[in-house]
Symmetry: C2
Subunit: 136 residues, 2 copies
């Protein structure tokens, strides 16, 4: 069996928060929105329905746990969850905290403008907050 | 318990294909992309993680069954799956067939231009094809 290797673009655009059972949980380095991605550690998969039924169930669990934690950590108006992958084909699921009036609200985040990287302290504080919500 | 009533905007923008166990499966009336929405028939729910764990599992099953059928019915390059809901808050999951070079490819479909309604024959033919793929 092939080994899972994280896509180069995902690696460049995000930092690892924690390894969950199935997925790497990563934070996109763009302070315009608190934006997580879950990447199932399975090689050669592009669509959720290509995962085994068990992996699909585990992904649902991890995704919903992360979404609830992100909502509680940020007080988001709405969580946006999506598996798109038109550009990066390695399966990855976006979980994004949206606030009324944020960049491009109520439109989508994908393809909007250019990323605004976090300052190091700001990023560490957000990571801490999300991990605490995830473990509470 | 409140009764489930389909959101007015979803009702206006889409037509019913079939009732699944949990969801209404509907086709968005926009011929730029083969675009389905799954609407869980549960009142007062905005986020996937607000569903009961059983409903979350059933939604995953219905969503992935529909996504695989849409891919096989259309020969899509990539299926886009998303629960956004920044505008319409009633929980609904988009399942969209994307083809290389389609409108706004590889960007997202949400908020792009204005809907181009189907002709009646064209819509019936697509519905038929999707339902056949779903039942095969």
């Amino acid at each position: 069996m092939d080994k899972f290797v994280l896509d180069e673009r995902l690696a460049r655009d995000s930092v690892l928060l924690v390894h969950l059972g199935l997925c790497e949980l990563r934070l996109i380095n763009d302070c315009r929105w608190p934006w997580l991605v879950l990447v199932p550690k399975r090689p050669g998969v592009s669509e959720v329905f290509e995962l085994t039924p068990l992996d699909q169930a585990v992904l649902t669990f991890e995704q919903n746990t992360v979404a609830a934690a992100l909502k509680s950590a940020t007080g988001a108006t709405k969580i946006n969850v999506a598996a798109i992958g038109n550009i990066v084909r390695q399966l990855h699921v976006h979980v994004i905290a949206r606030m009324e009036g944020d960049a491009n609200w109520p439109g989508p985040v994908w393809g909007h403008g250019t990323a605004a990287p976090y300052g190091a302290d700001e990023r560490r504080a957000l990571q801490q907050k999300i991990l605490e919500a995830l473990h509470s």
